[in-house]
Amino acid sequence: MRPIEYYEPPIPSKVNYINAQYGLKSWLLTKDHKRIALLYLGSITFFFFIGGIYALMIRLELLTPQGDFLQSATYNKVFTQHGIIMIFFFLIPSIPATLGNFLVPMMIGAKDLAFPRINLLSWYIYLLGGVITIYALLAGGVDTGWTFYTPFSTTFSNSYVVATGLGIFINGFSSILTGLNFIVTIHTMRAPGMTWFRLPLFIWSHYATSLIMILGTPVIAITVLLLAFERVARVGIFDPALGGDPILFQHLFWFYSHPAVYIMVLPSMGVVSELIANFSRKNIFGYSFVAFSSLAIAVFGFLVWGHHLFVTSQSVYAGMIFSFLSFAVAIPSAIKVFNWTATLYKSSISYDTPMLYGLGFIGLFTVGGMTGLFLASLAVDVHLSDTYFVVAHFHYIMVGGALMGYLGGLHYWWPKISGRMYPEGWGRFSALVIFVGFNLTFLPQFVAGYLGMPRRYHAYPPEFQVFNVLSTAGASILGFGMLIPAIYFVWSMRYGKRAEANPWHLPGLEWRTPSPPPTENFAVTPIVTWEAYEFAPPEETQVVGKFGPELEQI
């Protein structure tokens, strides 16, 4: 391995970003991106816990075909709130606002994000949105589904639609500001020598994510605003009784909410690129293809919203165009999967917990992505839309994809973030439990879906029970698996082994400074002279014999 150049202070110092200042005020008014990342980490964990309790209630209710655990009105609120909390307050901010906030400046060799005050503001906006949403839940909840379809949401629902909408509306601005901050930071604050093609792929995927956040989020804000206008002021926009068009809402909603899926999964893909390369000590195979496929996903992701409307009486020809584009957007994802797999060829693979999550991601994301093709395929979607097949598919993407990446990343960077090691044995054990529990929960739902079990059903025909029993059993294993890291992460903050600056022996910039890093990240500004994932000197680069002369170095 090449000698790694560290940017540690000349005299070792015990001062880092965590103990640089004390007191509540030093946290609540901090402008340090690392501290703000921790504020986010605490708040999204809180929301994840609430969303998880709702998930548990859903699975308990569906254990039996009769609606016997919850009343139908309660059940409708529970699945609605599960979706709203998990999507808007956990998944969308999860990786960008915690790992991204912490690592984007560190990976490019910057002292902070471009706009530290805006970064803090975005957390407060998130918190305000969260508090308003929690108020709506406590005041009586909302029962429209996280999709808020009109005219049910504007005219017929007797629940706290406007308050919840307000929470989501406000929360959106925190996304926009985070995206803005990342784009400006990546453009302007890279360390000398950190060229675009030396950026870790984590940065590329956050760049692509930020584009979606800035371009897509205003649309959901407008949509929620229009919904509130109609609900409060009875301005006819969506309700046909007032002269509106209910399908228009679905176009607007999915114009944001489909790209929002990529807000959740692109950062996770960035994490997985880091995990695969670093835990196999290998440069990513086809770096530029992986980088540009993120941008391709971000761009094409805006053109496929109509595949949510194949059964709404949308024009058959529009359906065909959206189906074609949906198949097209699957290709960049496939390219990523192939390149990650090829990276492992003739590498040196360690079985540390983060790598287990990285490998798990590839398997689960492959299933999630391929089952997406069923739903992009028009004729099969007609049968499958609004069934449990859809539920299983998007959980494979959002939990199997986004959440696995988040957990993998959290383990990987935990030594840097906290300065402590997590217990490796427990880490591997829980990764395995989560993988098994997840698959047992959601694989049976594909079958139940094709058999015709509709989603959002409080009670269901008895022939579907076997699948629901399997799901509920899986969910309890999954929930148990999630509790283990929750416990040992907290435990490790005090009792974990102290982490060295570079416990994994990696070349990335974030590992060339102490753990936890000082407030200014690097004692001196790093000068980058190496490529991304450069474990060995470039002259050793091997050309795969079989493909001989056609191979080019990228």
């Binding site: 046909p240 196999s280 059964v311 198949f327 360690s350 093709l373 069923f374 007609v382 009670a459 990228i554």
Partner: protein, 338 residues
């Protein structure tokens, strides 16, 4: 559902095996690639496990040839899925000629159906095998969705407009009808059954369940009682208002110079919002009937106007079978639907 854990639902329409065939193709490709990726991953993970803590593998440059290969192959496979799916989708949603029409109104939380011959049903639909059935659907409140897994088809039922779907059942039996679009509190109770019968049985059922007149004849009565006849003529021949006889399915000239084809949605719009698309030569004198006619009545008026087009089998003259009032059990919920 023969096996202990079935993998496909009952298959009971002319289209269901076509959807199943595509589904099996997709499943096959998915299984193949998921297993391939997993197998390669597991092989690499074992074969290239780290043997000594300080080993550094030689870096490998990427390969444009491989990248091209694994861009083109998935794209070609994806396009076969796209083409196949689009072809079957066309068949699913292309309205067939000479189908039996059934009117469907969804409301929180029940399905109201009326056959062209007048029979009304709630949460049940009796149909014969071997005949194409076309549903003309709308909703009184929120969006619902008419989903019959055994027929592999569904369509949203949207307030304020008519959507259509069709199927041709192949196997007698009783099949699930689900509302597949979340519609509020009792969404999961908005279910019913599709009862597919042999044609002769179906004819027996029809004659034993004659309704209170066909939709067209009920539409004709409404046409009189709502005062439509005073402007559009006793038999829709026109007057102060444009003629309605023979107009359905044709094109008509608007005041703006545009022409519009007279279909379900145009008729609906002209009743609820008459000023929107005025026929050339007529003034804006018709009042709106928004809020005065129910969705059921709108469908009946539509059926009447269709019957005036000629060539339709549902002429109002055949309306009102004698058994009309007796057929429906007393206290039937149809009475209290609104």
């Amino acid at each position: 559902m023969q096996s202990w854990i079935p993998l496909v639902p009952d298959s009971a329409s002319t289209l269901s095996w076509k959807v199943d065939a595509l589904y099996f193709y997709l499943s096959g490709v998915t299984l193949f690639f998921s297993l391939l990726i997993s197998a390669v991953l597991i092989f690499f993970v074992i074969r290239y496990r780290r043997r000594t803590p300080y080993e550094i593998p030689r870096p490998i440059a990427g390969s444009h040839k491989l990248e091209t290969l694994w861009t083109i192959i998935p794209f070609v496979i994806a396009m076969t899925m796209f083409g196949w799916g689009a072809q079957v989708y066309f068949q699913q949603y292309k309205p067939p000629a000479n189908a039996i029409e059934v009117y469907v109104v969804g409301k929180q939380w029940m399905w109201k159906l009326q056959h062209a011959t007048g029979q009304r049903e709630i949460n049940q639909l009796h149909i014969p095998v071997g005949r194409k059935i076309k549903l003309i659907m709308t909703s009184e409140d929120v969006i619902h969705d008419f989903f019959v897994p055994a027929f592999r088809t569904k369509m949203d039922v949207v307030p304020g407009k008519y959507t259509t779907m069709w199927f041709e059942a192949t196997t007698p039996g009783t099949y699930h009808l689900f509302c597949a679009e979340y519609c509020g509190m009792n969404h999961s109770g908005m279910t019913g059954s599709i009862i597919v019968m042999e044609p002769r049985e179906f004819d027996n059922w029809l004659s034993g369940n004659a309704g209170s007149g066909t939709p067209a004849s009920q539409g004709q009565q409404l046409f009189q009682s709502l005062g439509c006849a005073s402007c559009h003529g006793q038999n829709g021949e026109g007057g102060r208002g444009p003629t309605l006889a023979g107009i359905y399915g044709q094109k008509t000239q608007l005041q703006t110079g545009e022409s519009v084809s007279v279909d379900d949605s145009y008729v609906r719009e002209s009743i609820l919002n008459p000023q929107a698309k005025l026929v050339a030569g007529f003034g804006a004198i018709m009042p709106t009937f928004q809020g005065q006619v129910s969705e059921d009545q709108l469908l009946q008026l539509l059926a009447y106007i269709k019957s005036l087009a000629g060539g339709q089998t549902q002429a109002p003259a055949t309306a009102g079978t004698p058994a009309a009032t007796n057929a429906r059990p007393a206290g039937s919920p149809t009475q209290n639907l609104k």
